[in-house]
Symmetry: C2
Subunit: 364 residues, 2 copies
């Protein structure tokens, strides 16, 4: 790959050179099968070994116990916005509790409302989605079917530093953008979902981790592909799996285990990377204006504004000229967003820091 080009897009990760080389090798022939990795039938033993290994890696990284199923589905988090209430709110006559902290958690509500009552128990909109709630601001319906929240809001760059304590209510989360970026206690959750394209693979596969007992009370009037149970029963090959995307999950999780050393180490790197940029923002706070309140700052997506729209455009354009691409904020918020997904090398962070210092010198 061309040196010095770094991808800060919020939607699509960068990939470790090791993974790129493994894919290039396996495109010619996968493990002495005589066939390209593209050609692996989802019903072949070779693919079963790949998907089992991807699952095993995730279980090892996240310390997932046997009472959880690990599924590889399609449709992204947007389909989870529907599948979660279809499976767990439909016909329940109990409300779901949603914590609204930004663009994504707010978006999840629209389709949930098709299936039952949705109570928004905290809403950060009036504060411009600049922070997550504290535990003492959260009051749940005691009969809630589940509590739903987004661990990291990719658009606004705010992240929960803790797991909300919901007592005995099933806790459901969208973990798309900080999935396998730090150790978490899976036992606190009834369901975790995350598309792969940020930290875990390429776009086109969504990982769902679901506690077995949470499956017991699903109604039977659900379209087959939208019902979690057929996917559980068939170990994620109810229908043709996105085989190649799942293969990339196997590679990315192996890289995380073998080359990074797991989630503790990954979290340290994420902390170091984001510290460098947040420190720079704080030191030049008259010029660079961070969006998130300090106690809610995301280690993954660093969102900030510049004094004028003209400077914002210059920042994006001059950054791109220097090989720092994808720095534009999400279309709903504008400004600047630098996303540091798992494989972002420290050189990329240093390149961004140096550019930001020069840009500040030039235009302050």
């Amino acid at each position: 790959m061309k040196r010095g080009v770094y991808n800060f897009f919020g939607g699509m990760a960068i990939y470790p050179p090791r993974v790129i080389e493994e894919v290039r090798r396996d495109l010619l022939e996968y493990e002495n099968t005589g066939l390209s990795i593209f050609e692996m039938s989802h019903r072949s033993q070779t693919f079963r070994n790949i998907i089992d290994k991807a699952e095993e890696n995730l279980r090892q990284l996240m310390n997932i116990s046997d009472n959880y199923h690990v599924l590889f589905l399609q449709g992204g988090e947007n389909l989870q916005f529907s599948m979660i209430p279809i499976n767990f709110l439909r016909d329940k006559n109990r409300p779901a509790n949603y914590i609204v902290t930004g663009y994504w958690s707010e978006k999840a509500i629209k389709d949930a409302r098709r299936e039952g009552q949705v109570n928004i128990i905290w809403d950060g909109r009036d504060e411009g989605f600049t922070r997550v709630p504290k535990q003492n601001e959260l009051q749940f319906d005691s009969d809630a079917a589940y509590v739903y929240y987004t661990t990291n809001e990719t658009v606004e760059g705010i992240q929960f530093p803790m797991i909300p304590d919901v007592g005995d209510i099933p806790l459901v989360c969208d973990m798309c953008s900080d999935f396998i970026s730090k150790p978490i206690d899976v036992t606190k959750y009834a369901l975790i979902s995350a598309h792969a394209q940020k930290n875990a693979g390429i776009a086109g596969v969504t990982i769902v981790i679901i506690r077995d007992d949470f499956l017991q009370d699903i109604p039977d009037n659900i379209h087959t592909m939208l019902d979690y149970r057929p996917h559980v029963e068939k170990s994620s090959i109810y229908n043709t799996s996105p085989t190649f995307a799942i293969y990339t999950v196997m590679l990315m999780t192996r890289w995380l285990i073998e080359d990074i050393g797991g989630l503790e180490n990954m979290n340290k790197l994420a902390q170091q990377r984001s510290d460098i940029i947040y420190e720079l923002l704080d030191k030049n706070a008259g010029f660079y204006k961070p969006h998130a309140k300090p106690d809610s700052r995301s280690l993954i997506n660093i969102v900030f504004n510049l004094p004028t729209a003209e400077l914002t455009q210059k920042f994006i354009a001059e950054g791109a000229e220097e090989g720092l691409v994808g720095l534009q904020g999400h279309r709903s918020l504008g400004g600047i967003r630098a996303s540091f997904f798992n494989p972002m090398p420290m050189e990329g962070v240093h390149a961004l820091r140096d550019f930001m210092l020069r840009f500040h010198e030039k235009y302050r």
Copy 2:
């Protein structure tokens, strides 16, 4: 790739060496962007150009006119089994008409029934799914919401030689296994769907071609991701597209245009390939027993039986030893299935023919 290994699986295609080399090149860097093809944001202009080119290639190959939308979705044909009735049968108070010719068209019915009345207007089960109906055997409900059929039954190896004449009723088809394998008259259809992994790309993207006027009467009580309209409005990037899978569609359709010369030529090749094997089956009909009636034989999936279960197992095992892999029939039917998707080279067909002749000599 290792010479002499050919993939006859019914689920996953083989890929032209040109496409494999293009992917290997673009994994390192895509068109002077400094980024791997894996890293392309679905919101980038680079990816927009890729998806636009994939669509343009399909429009050119299939002669698709402007009143049809071309969508790239997720979930495979199994999700189409639900999306089609959710969009076009729900709240209609009119029946859908399904033609049942095999495993896949039969499977489509279960979820369709969740949305309204399904009338099976022809059912080949009693004849063991060995043929498709003739036009004069088909009687449609005059008020049918749509007629649904499967152009090629991958499991049984039977294929419609003609497009059923349904008059003014919207015609909907599952074209998964013979998509872009021959010229078809798109204007006869209201909706065509096909997953990519057989002839058009890798698993994880489903192509839906839908006539604009068919979208007018969709109810508004549909979950966003299951409603065709948001995907039409956002030109297939309502949510994160399976970018890499769509990129492979662009490559495979380009190969079909530039290296094969389009669908007329592809169809000639498909005819030549299947003629070689069907001729061999007919000449040795006491040993090799073709499943399909002659007038319904598939050019794509050639399904046949051997005199005993023991010989079937030997055929599969000895074939695999010679590099002919994936010859086992579908788990629902047993026997032998040889699938010839678009990129199957004539050498693969000759290798299969020679093996079959030797096997016949050895065990007859």
